[in-house]
């Protein structure tokens, strides 16, 4: 269970949000809404332990994520605003490296399968620089098909995706939630995911 208590975020001298409390349990989805610059990305980065909150704390199964460190990271998958795709590597190399960083051994076949599932059949060995925005996004999302983590934190995962891809991701998220996973995501698109419980958090 991920719990946030009394979070406050200050950026460049002004307060983005303060006194934020929520918790996400197994099988639950937390969707964060808010206009641009309301601190959605800042909040997600905080939940990943990338930034420290000014006040308040974030706990994972009742221990502070700061003290858990790598133990927490092994149950977390974060897909950020910047998708971490390298232009000079092929789609499949990008996927293998990002999985290796996440501490996941994937062989060539698993990686190929994942890329094909996400709709990149025949493009596995193209350099990322020749892929379109949406295709690059798919490469980064392909990791979700392989990881075995408990908590997914996704920052605008649907940007630049077409209808079929959005449908695919939706199904994947529903499957993951049904397995007892936890998802925290921001999105501007309306997406209708079924889950045990859906929380909405509005930042403004």
């Amino acid at each position: 269970m991920l719990t946030a208590t009394n979070l406050e975020c200050v950026r460049g001298g002004h307060v983005l949000f303060t006194d934020l409390n929520f918790s996400v349990k197994s099988g639950e989805l937390l969707q964060i809404h808010g206009p641009n610059g309301s601190g959605k990305t800042s909040l997600l980065r905080m939940l990943c332990g990338l930034t420290q909150p000014n006040t308040g704390k974030i706990t994972w199964n009742d221990s502070n994520i700061r003290s858990l460190g790598e133990q927490y990271y092994s149950s977390l998958t974060y897909l950020g605003h910047m998708i971490g795709i390298k232009d000079d590597l092929t789609a499949i190399e990008n996927l293998s490296i990002s999985c290796a960083l996440a501490g996941l051994e994937v062989d060539n076949k698993m990686a190929l399968d994942a890329l094909q599932q996400i709709g990149l059949k025949g493009r596995e060995n193209l350099l990322a620089r020749v892929l379109s925005q949406g295709q690059r996004r798919r490469v980064s999302l392909a990791r979700l098909l392989l990881v075995k983590t408990k908590l997914w934190i996704l920052d605008e995962p649907l940007t630049a995706l077409d209808v079929t891809a959005i449908k695919l991701i939706k199904e994947k998220l529903e499957w993951f939630l049904a397995q007892g996973g936890m998802v925290i995501l921001t999105t501007h698109q309306d997406i209708d995911i079924s889950a045990a419980a859906i929380h909405h958090l509005h930042l403004n």
């Binding site: 460049g12 001298g13 002004h14 307060v15």
Partner: protein, 246 residues
């Protein structure tokens, strides 16, 4: 006792405490400076080897001592700020840097003035001089790094890392420079030639060292106060302060 300590560790209480202390240290600094200069230039006898030019050491030596000492103090506070996330100690480190750099510069400058009549040259690649020059580089690096980072919390922490790396390196640098200097058999001038110093000289020097201390404390407190105001400008107590002084 310990409660008192924590009270003044909050920037707001420190701000008012510092406000009371600054006049005290300023007055002390001025008195000691005048006394020290008087002893140095009128009371202390002329050196039989070096003539009148030696009198520059009354400024040079305190400046050189302070320059090294302040770097260690700065690294110490920066390290505390990094380890315990205490804002005030990081602000202190930031406040110390310009004063330290100023003393380093004075030490180099007066050293050159002293060197010209003594050694016949403005600059020698002596181990002390070279190390002092490198110290100036370290100060400048610290200050430019902090100046380049907009977010004060990040600036504090980044500055702390570089200050600590610097403080670990200072002995290594000093030792290597000394080794390098002896290897090259360069200008081997020992600065402290005269073993016996006249009492008046010693007193003058010590008074000047104290003056440098008081000056540094006053200036650092003043600068720390400014940094506090700047950083805490969004808090209520600064707003109240503006109301009352208006």
């Amino acid at each position: 006792m310990s409660i008192n300590w924590y009270k003044y560790a909050a920037p707001s209480s420190f701000y008012f405490l510092a406000g009371k202390l600054i006049p005290f240290f300023t007055v002390l600094a001025v008195i000691l400076l005048v006394a020290g200069l008087y002893i140095g230039f009128f009371v202390a006898p002329t050196d039989f080897q070096q003539g009148e030019a030696y009198r520059i050491i009354f400024i040079h030596v305190p400046a050189a001592w302070m320059s090294m000492f302040l770097y260690v103090v700065m690294a110490f506070w920066a390290g505390i700020g990094l380890a315990f996330n205490t804002r005030l100690s990081s602000m202190f480190a930031t406040a110390i840097a310009p004063t330290g750099a100023l003393f380093t510069f004075i030490a180099l400058w007066t050293g050159a003035w002293w060197g010209k009549p003594m050694w016949g040259t403005w600059w020698v690649w002596d181990a002390r001089l070279t190390s002092e020059l490198i110290l100036l580089f370290l100060y400048i690096g610290f200050m430019s790094l902090q100046a380049a980072i907009d977010d004060p919390r990040r600036a504090d922490k980044a500055g702390a890392v570089i200050a600590l790396v610097g403080v670990v390196n200072i002995p290594i640098i000093y030792f290597s420079v000394q080794w390098w200097n002896t290897l090259h058999q360069g200008a081997s001038v020992s600065v402290m030639q005269s073993p016996k110093m006249a009492t008046a000289m010693l007193v003058g020097m010590l008074v000047m060292v104290l003056a440098a201390w008081m000056y540094s404390i006053a200036l650092i407190l003043l600068r720390a106060r400014n940094i506090i105001l700047e950083r805490e400008s969004h808090t209520s107590w600064v707003a109240e302060l503006k109301e009352t002084t208006r």
